[in-house]
């Protein structure tokens, strides 16, 4: 059964997507991978607010999963804003994209995304990408 290393499972995840169905499906997969602490944002702007507000608190965001294209503050802008804050440089970011958006991945990586996954995804791939995103932060 696929699972994540304990150090990652214990982290506080923030799932950002403007579609409720996507948020629910991502969270369902995270739960299957052993993640227990999951918060949700429906836009890039809301996510940034939550990340900043929760810094240093018990609900500090320790892993960001974000959609690329959203109506209110897209994923790339969110990552740029996160990386612009020196205290958030070590926040692992995994971006979720649709096939149509793959052309924007280079921009996302330049913005500071650690890895990306294309919809629809498989549970095993999601686990690998999360682990890889965390590893890239450490290295």
């Amino acid at each position: 059964m696929t699972t994540l290393p304990e150090a990652i499972r214990k982290k506080q995840f923030l799932v950002t997507d403007d579609y409720e169905s996507m948020r629910v499906m991502i969270a369902e997969h995270l739960k299957q991978l052993g993640v227990e602490k999951i918060l949700f944002a429906s836009s890039g702007n809301q996510a940034l607010k939550m990340i900043k507000q929760n810094q240093g608190k018990s609900e500090q965001i320790e892993f960001l999963l974000t959609d690329m294209i959203m109506e209110d503050g897209n994923g790339i802008e969110l990552v740029k804003a996160v990386r612009a804050d020196a205290t958030l440089k070590s926040l692992p970011v995994l971006m979720i994209t649709s096939k149509a958006e793959v052309g924007l991945v280079i921009d996302a990586v330049k913005a500071g995304v650690n890895n990306y996954i294309v919809k629809p995804w498989q549970l095993e791939d999601l686990a690998k990408k999360i682990i890889d995103s965390q590893a890239k932060i450490k290295s």
């Binding site: 579609y19 409720e20 169905s21 996507m22 629910v24 499906m25 369902e28 649709s98 919809k119 629809p120 995804w121």
Partner: protein, 136 residues
């Protein structure tokens, strides 16, 4: 993950249907956003879509079926089923299965059968539907 979208915002949502679907492990959401439905369908492989009105269901699915909505199967649930052969044929060209929720006793059975559909069945159904569509 099993998902059902209630499509018509004006309809009084059928609480009974919602409860039954939840009992079967479905996440029930309301949207008309075709991109969201498309993405959810591709992730889940199967979706149940609930419409109040058959004409709107046909229009909505026909507009999207051959563009995005073709990589997953749809069980179309209708609050008011239209039983004339012409309407049935039209709806069969846009959904793998069509069912009126008034026939409550068969609903669980219908959903279970839909869940058992294999990808091969889906390919066959799509080719039949596409043929029907082209001959219309």
């Amino acid at each position: 993950m099993k998902m059902c979208f209630f499509i018509n915002p004006s309809q009084p949502q059928s609480q009974t249907l919602k409860t039954k679907l939840k009992e079967l492990g479905y996440m029930v959401l309301q949207t008309q956003n075709t991109d969201e439905i498309d993405q959810a369908g591709k992730q889940c492989q199967q979706l149940i879509l609930f419409f109040d009105d058959s004409k709107f269901a046909y229009k909505f699915l026909k507009e999207n079926r051959w563009n995005g909505f073709r990589l997953f199967s749809v069980l179309l649930l209708l609050k008011k089923p239209v039983l004339s052969p012409d309407n049935q044929r039209m709806l069969a060209s846009v959904a793998l299965e069509v069912f009126g929720i008034e026939e409550e006793t068969q609903l669980l059975e219908k959903i279970k059968k839909f869940e058992e559909k294999k990808e091969d069945d889906l390919d066959i159904e799509f080719s039949i539907h596409k043929e029907l569509e082209e001959n219309q």
